[in-house]
């Protein structure tokens, strides 16, 4: 079942189309990744879906509610974590969570209980009594995510949740996202970290210049650049001297020796590894690891969008530091 349905959605600011006739759907219970460079239209899409912006044309529905006319009903089941932590600096962590719960009409007892639970879950119990302004960037992100889920939303919108924070906090946040998803929360995630999307998302959409250029399951996207099959074998001893002999015995594969104890086999067809294993066994060289090499999502992204990732990362991180 689709929990988010977007059909021919366009959002214009003056003459500029920030989002241009995009269509996609998000299935209930999945982690959906929305990837693109700065200004691609990711935040605009989230703004339309969550009620902060109005669509110029097209339609968007969340849990069956029209974002244009029934946004307040849709907001009941949404949790939103913006790209910048926007809680109240004067309040402490506990008060911030209680206030956010009150916005969803939760009673005092229930919101205090939930706030304590979330502070514990996010490892912020000790910091719960400190003012938000005293929090580190990572702690602020964690508390902002906790505030986004205080009312147990069915859909959680996460806009760049790990941008500009330390590695440990980012890792913790990714684990929390996975746990949330396992409890049934649908997650709409925008990120510029390709490896993050690769690790977390079930399906991914690439958006560039306000248009969705590709959408699909991770495997489907990978297949687009997977023109050959690659297997990498690892040995305990050096094997570089065997390269001519392997190539001679198996002319249908391309043999590479990237390191002294590693052999890489490339073929346009799926490979049967049994003959290779026998070959090395006869040479008294046991294979202790055989790994299928897949293209990375980064390669897929660069091939489809033509955008250099390093440049995209630098742009984003520059923005995050400002």
């Amino acid at each position: 079942m689709d929990i988010i349905e977007v059909d021919q959605l366009t959002k214009r600011y003056g003459g500029l189309a920030a989002v241009d006739q995009i269509s996609f759907s998000v299935h209930e219970g999945e982690i959906f990744g929305f990837l693109g460079p700065n200004g691609a239209g990711k935040t605009t899409t989230i703004n339309v879906l969550t009620g902060l912006a109005r669509a110029t044309s097209g339609s968007a529905r969340v849990s069956g509610f029209e974002c244009a006319g029934e946004i307040k009903k849709a907001q009941q089941i949404m949790g939103i974590v913006p790209d910048e932590s926007n809680l109240y600096e004067e309040f402490d962590g506990f008060e911030n969570l209680c206030f956010c719960a009150a916005l969803y009409g939760m009673q005092k007892g229930a919101r205090e209980k939930k706030a304590k639970e979330l502070l514990e879950k996010f490892g912020l119990t000790e910091a719960g009594g400190k003012p938000f302004r005293a929090y580190s960037r990572g702690m602020k992100r964690k508390l902002t995510i906790a505030a986004g889920i205080i009312h147990d939303p069915k859909v959680l919108f996460l806009d760049e949740p790990t941008t500009g924070i330390d590695v440990a906090s980012a890792r913790q946040i990714r684990q929390l996202i996975q746990k949330l998803n396992q409890t049934g929360t649908t997650i709409f995630l925008t990120t510029h970290y390709i490896e993050e999307a690769e690790r977390l998302c079930n399906r991914i959409a690439f958006i560039v210049g306000g248009k969705i250029v590709r959408i699909g399951h991770l495997d489907e996207l990978m297949r687009e650049v997977q023109h050959e099959h690659v297997v990498q074998l690892a040995f305990a001893e050096g094997v570089s001297n065997l390269k001519p002999s392997i190539q001679e015995n198996y002319p249908d594969v391309v043999v590479e020796v990237p390191e002294n104890q590693t052999v890489r086999l490339r073929s346009s067809q799926p490979m049967n590894l049994t003959p290779f294993m026998r070959f090395f066994e006869q040479k008294n060289l046991p294979v202790y690891e055989a790994r299928i090499m897949r293209p990375s999502l980064e390669e897929v992204f660069v091939k489809i969008t033509g955008i250099e990732l390093q440049k995209m990362k630098q742009e984003k991180e520059g923005k995050g530091k400002q």
Binding site: Y13, T50, G51, L52, A53, R54, K72, K73, Q75, Q76, M78, I80, P82, E84, N86, L87, Y88, E89, E90, F91, F99, C100, A102, L103, Y104, G105, M106, Q107, A147
Partner: protein, 244 residues
């Protein structure tokens, strides 16, 4: 019920974070004292405190509410914490009522600070308090909504302050508090009649010193009309500019 929980918590948050901060409490005390002193010093003859009361009360409300709401809203917009309220499942009209309630209450309390001071200096026994309360409330409502109108029109906090003064200072001299409307130049009088403060001040003058001009029913009807119209205009602006 759920909406009222949100309403109450927004009101309490604003009270705690903005209106009950020591600088604002001291502003509420210093402002009416400063105005009263100014009249004492300026006047060559003995000044009747009761004569000053409608003016000082009106200005306390006007200055307290307009700038407070304009500044706090602009501050929340800048820090993006206002987005959190827009994203909550609260009707927008109800949300804006919750946001303005704090400023209205602040205005009400400000208005009665000069009354408290005056009670030590003169007898206030024959004042009609019900119309006074109604007038102060409606002055606070219209001034707060003016603050909201300003907040929607600016992006920076300093702009909110400057823009507030652009409206407030002409109002002081055109609302009939210090210069009777009949003595204003003819071309300025229409301006006086489009200011809500003119009608609020007239109720206060009638109720405190029995020297109002327009009659309570007319004044209250016009003030209520201004309140509804300003709220509708502000909401239209909020929808147009903040949900873009």
């Amino acid at each position: 019920m759920k909406s009222w929980i949100a309403f109450w918590n927004i009101l309490m948050k604003d009270m705690r974070n903005y209106y009950l901060k020591p600088p604002n409490i001291s502003w509420g005390l210093v402002f009416p004292v400063a105005w009263t002193l100014m009249f004492f010093l300026k006047s060559p003859t003995k000044v009747d405190v009761r004569e000053l009361l409608p003016g000082v009360m009106s200005l306390s409300v006007l200055f307290g509410t307009t700038s407070m709401l304009a500044v706090t809203m602009t501050f929340e917009r800048r820090s993006r914490s206002f987005e959190r309220l827009l994203l909550a499942p609260l009707d927008l009209n109800f949300l804006m009522l919750a946001k303005t309630s704090g400023a209205i209450l602040f205005g009400l309390v400000n208005a009665f600070v000069p009354v408290l001071f005056a009670s030590f200096l003169t007898s206030l026994s024959d004042i009609r308090w019900l119309p006074v309360l109604g007038a102060v409330f409606l002055i606070a409502v219209t001034s707060t909504l003016l603050g909201l109108f300003i907040a929607v029109s600016v992006k920076e906090i300093f702009e909110a302050q400057t823009f507030s003064n652009f409206f407030r200072f002409p109002m002081i001299f055109l609302c009939g508090l210090f210069i009777p409307l009949q003595t204003l130049p003819l071309f300025l009088r229409p301006l006086s009649y489009i200011l809500p403060l003119t009608y609020g001040a007239d109720i206060l003058k009638s109720s405190i010193n029995q020297n109002g001009q327009l009659g309570l029913l007319v004044n209250f009807t016009i003030l209520l009309g201004f309140s509804v119209a300003l709220f509708a205009l502000s909401m239209r602006n909020v929808k147009r500019k903040w949900i873009y």
